[in-house]
Amino acid sequence: MIEVQEITRTFAGRGGLLRRPGVRALRGVSLTIPDRGAVCLIGESGCGKTTLGRILCGLEDFDGGDLVVDGQSLAALKAKDRARYFRRIQLIHQDPYSALNPTRTIRQILDDPLALRARQLGQDGAWVAGRRDELLGLVGLDPAYVLPRYPHMLSGGMRQRVVIARALTVDPEVLVADEAVSMIDVSLRLGILQLLRDLRDQVGVAVLFITHDVATARYVGTGGELHVIYRGTVIERGTTDTVIQHPVHPYTQCLLSAIPVLRGIEEPGAARIVPTAPLDDRQEPSGCLFQPRCPLAAPECAERQPPLSQLGGTVQEHACLFPEDRPVVAVPAAAAAD
């Protein structure tokens, strides 16, 4: 289990004396990734979801709050002592075309981390070869085909599978997948998403899935939790199904309203809403952060920002003064005709 406790991160503004104020990428985010669990983070570009993923992988520092891995608080440790905890959390990059060294064969790409792991576990070369084939089998690749090849000889989908196999070489507890399928051919995407789902059962790894695409989050996050992030804070969270089918926060509702509706098989939701303005992260509004763009904002919204709660008796937690379940999600065309 991995716990994120009130993590904050501010990126300093540049420019000396006339410097612009820093960007508050994360304003205190807490979440728990249970063993074998699935947690999805959704939000628009610049909401802080990628920063959170990078912090979890140790690629980025955090300013405040704590990260608890295996019961160990990382804030209490020096940077060099954190490394062995970050082994437990591995990142699946967005771009499988640049995540693999083009001058090395897949065999070399997988053998290096495996050799290291073998030394840690006191294993020998035979173990490395066996484990390598086992991992490739897990991700659905034929070792005889891929091992002698270089990354450019493989399709995007196969490369992403190699990236996942490489992440699994160090026996992680959590895979952080940041937009992991956005650069993969559409007909191959579902295969990768399915793999991420299956790995939870097969190797007992948890998945933190970061995306702006709600439909893929719905697929990977079935049975898990969905967190909607806006400007560095979680504004709604609950089980994936509840948040997608019965969103109560207007921002979540805007995100769900923006999903393209397929003509002929879907009908748009009856209460679709659109933000009144684009995101302006230079502005620090009073009260609710979403209130300047919220089509449903009331005067009270500029006065205070409610904390995450189940205000109004909702199933999920949200941070809105006036939560209301609105039908914003598209419905199947057949159901709409009834």
């Binding site: 628009e44 570009s45 399709s155 995007g156 989908g157 196969m158 051919d185 559409v186 007909s187 191959l188 995407r189 579902l190 295969g191 998403l193 399915q194 702006h212 695409d213 709600v214 439909a215 893929t216 719905r218 697929y219 079935t222 997608i244 805007c254 995100l255 769900l256 309203s257 923006a258 999903i259 393209p260 509706v261 397929l262 003509r263 002929g264 098989i265 879907e266 659109v274 933000p275 684009p278 995101l279 999600v329 598209a330 419905v331 199947p332 065309a333």
Partner: protein
Amino acid sequence: MVRVPRSSRSGGADTVAAAPAGITVGQPDADARLSGPAAVSVRDLTVAFSTPEGLLPAVSHVSLDLDRGQITGLVGESGSGKSTLALTLLNAVPQPGRVTSGAVLIDGLGDVLGLTRRNLRRARGASIGYVFQASQNSLNPLKQVGKQLLDLGRSHGESDLRGLLRRARTLLDDMGMDANRVLASFQHELSGGMRQRVGIVFALVLNAHVLILDEPTTALDMLTQASVLEIVRKVHAEHHLTTLVISHDVGVIGDLAQRIAVMYAGRIVEEGPTATVLADPRHPYTRGLLTAMPRITGDVALARPLPGRPPDLTSIPRQGCVFRERCPLAMDICAAAEPPVTKTEGGERRFACYAAAGETP
């Protein structure tokens, strides 16, 4: 802005080049359509690239009509030839590619492939507006948007640069942007969605009547994507355009386009009105794409990946149906010859599949 109606050209009278044996090419029968003659008509187009392995077709005997005033969506995976097809509409296929057969007839221009360099230069921009795939990164980083706009006007011999700026301002206003701020901005001062909108302004400012958008929403998040789609819909209607949207995302096309053409390995395997094609896909590839798409409605557990991988230029089967290696319905006949185009619903729909046409093993 007042638009001068273009002279209409009768569609459907042109002959189709003879196709190789075993391949039936769809006869363009624009007359059957309710919406009038096509504004753009691609006839039996083949574009081949010379490679170490010989001349390989990226687009093979494609016929496609863009109906006037409609949004047509072209959906396909990377390597399906969709961008090559779109570039052919500008007669701008990059080397080492070349058009080996076919014609691209555009309303008021004739066959674009036969235009002289000078007329072609005039046609690009003045008749056909193209928003490039990387339009978010295609602006000059060293010049303000306004200056680039003036460059565009000058290079097209536009004498009324004030009028050009005025049109650009109107377009920017229509898209909900602060025109003065955008024109005085450098590329890095604009967000991804704003750059995309600037790309659309550049494509339309010379009064093009055909608009081609190549992957207009790739790399944009959901909210920005929705607003760009809304803007495309709006400018399309207000400027009476004929629009072609190219995307790998069935969702984008399914939301935006009135007609959809599904491209695979250089062929259009299915085409028809979006709503009927999506509700009742006939070609196994179209069906497979829809099933392989995580959706927001319906049972998420029913999604199934499409087996295999999309072919690239060198691995497209040379004989028979190009999809048969990934097809759940493949039969012996599929390996023998490329399936002919079958038309249904009074010529409104077409697909190229033996199984869908009722052939049994």
